[in-house]
Symmetry: C2
Subunit: 303 residues, 2 copies
């Protein structure tokens, strides 16, 4: 059974006009009620660069005590210290495999980010926190285009050597195709032997769900998604969101693969989150409803 | 290599406010320029029921002489006679596996539709035309919900016994999941041994592309799609269109599986068709563009 991690509160909201911490808690409560047990809560980044995550410390405080595994995204040691001080026990360290993207996103070279990771591993060990390394631009970069899988594997091996056992492969710009996802999941598993390997997908070219199935077939342990497919660049409406979680839950349910998630409540979370950021969902099930939920009594479609 | 059939001019337009025959020809010319060699041109149905297809005879006349294989959809002998008189050489006979849907769509029971098919086979043989049987509601029906695969196989066997060698399995309401598509493609191939088996998918629950890959892996010969994902119920915007052809072409190209279709020209056809019916494309590549087509120079996304 593949695990699902909701990343609505971080990746789904980070580029939006900030919503209140109380509204985030309301979304969180619906996600938890739906049965979500793994989620990205926020990022501990610079409030001037990511204003929508400026309330990270307060949100973490309000969310403390939830039974779910809550991740805080960090880009450096400073962020990790903030996250731990706020009570976060699961640090999601993001670095990009592509040098120009890592520079843009973190202000560091990949080597410098790996040095930050080394320090964070030491900090986490002393405080009993978990670390995941998310390898961004693993399937393509907005600056250099195609990314060599061997570069991804090299970073995965380095992270593993530093003691990181959990990893995610992120298709940051939604460029991956299923064959590439399957291949990179298999290769990362073989060379870095992560204890938990996630895949983070965007639907930019309409392939998020197909890539998710490819990842599952290749043995990925976990997939990220947002309700409503929220997230991504607000300047390409309908094209760049995260993998729509309700579509994946609906599909897995229909395929007899239990997710532990209640679709109806997840759809409530989706409706609330989309309404709070004033965006139409890019997910399909949020619009059409689950299959066979109700049957028509008037004219159907023709073929 | 899987073949791709464009169904924009029929399934993509049939529920829209009618556009002029000249505009249909303009779309057709771009599709042909893009390298489309197989397409649904129109349907020979009742103009009062499908006004957008009322110009079927004239469109067929204008399209005659094209090197592409052009299909005319028919529901009965009368339609087949019209199609042949208009010069159509490829008759796509549609019947629904589900009784209430077939009644709604054709005014006949499934048995009565099979009787029509028998008469059409005789007519086609005498005039050298090809026939395909499209089995609608093969994965679900708006009236009865789930459809038993054995009912689909029974109709496929009957069609084959009548001499029909080409078939399509149509997910009329976009209810299928990849495991079901793979299973039904394999079973239909085994019991009916079609010379050509197509799969017709709708993206109602966001699974059209994933289902397409499942169909390909299971040995389907052909997939249907529309530019812009046009088609489906206009009352569920963004949720019910056909498989978006440019997204599939983009994916197959990126996976090194040649389609023979020029994506740039196909995107021109998509833009024209969407503009003529005043709808935003539900395809993703039409909005985001192909991967790695251009690289950014400004800020990218964060993870």
């Amino acid at each position: 059974m593949v695990a699902l991690r909701d990343v609505t509160l971080r990746d789904g909201l980070q580029d939006e006009t900030p919503i209140s911490t109380e509204h985030k808690v309301a979304i969180l409560e619906l996600l938890l009620a739906a049965g979500v047990t793994d989620l990205e809560l926020t990022s501990f980044t610079r409030p001037d660069r990511v204003p929508a995550m400026a309330d990270a410390d307060r949100l973490a405080e309000l969310a403390l005590g939830s039974p779910a595994r809550m991740w805080g995204l960090v880009l450096n040691l400073r962020g990790a210290e903030r996250a731990l001080a706020a009570g976060i026990r699961n640090l999601q360290f993001v670095l990009s495999v592509s040098e120009p993207h890592n520079l843009e996103n973190t202000g560091r070279s990949v080597e410098e980010s790996l040095n930050e990771l080394r320090a964070i591993v030491a900090l986490a060990e002393s405080s009993g926190a978990q670390i995941e390394a998310t390898l961004a631009t693993a399937f393509g970069c907005p600056f250099v285009g195609q990314v060599d899988p061997s570069a991804v594997l090299a970073v995965a091996i380095r992270a593993r050597e530093l003691g990181v056992e959990r990893m995610s492969l992120a298709d940051t710009i939604g460029a991956a195709v299923p064959t590439e996802v399957a291949s990179l999941v298999a290769q990362t598993t073989a060379v870095a032997e992560p204890s938990e390997l996630g895949v983070h997908l965007h639907d930019t070219r309409g392939l998020a769900i197909a890539n998710a199935f490819a990842a599952i077939d290749a043995g990925a342990d976990r997939l990220d998604g947002t309700v409503g497919g929220l997230g991504g660049c607000p300047f390409a409406p309908g094209a760049s969101g995260n993998l729509p979680l309700e579509d994946l839950v609906h599909a897995l349910n229909a395929m007899g693969q239990p997710t532990g998630i209640d679709l109806d409540i997840l759809l409530e979370a989706s409706a609330l989150a989309c309404s709070l950021v004033d965006r139409a969902p890019t997910s399909h099930v949020a619009v059409a409803g689950p299959r066979f939920a109700r049957t028509a009594t008037a004219a159907g479609t023709r073929s």
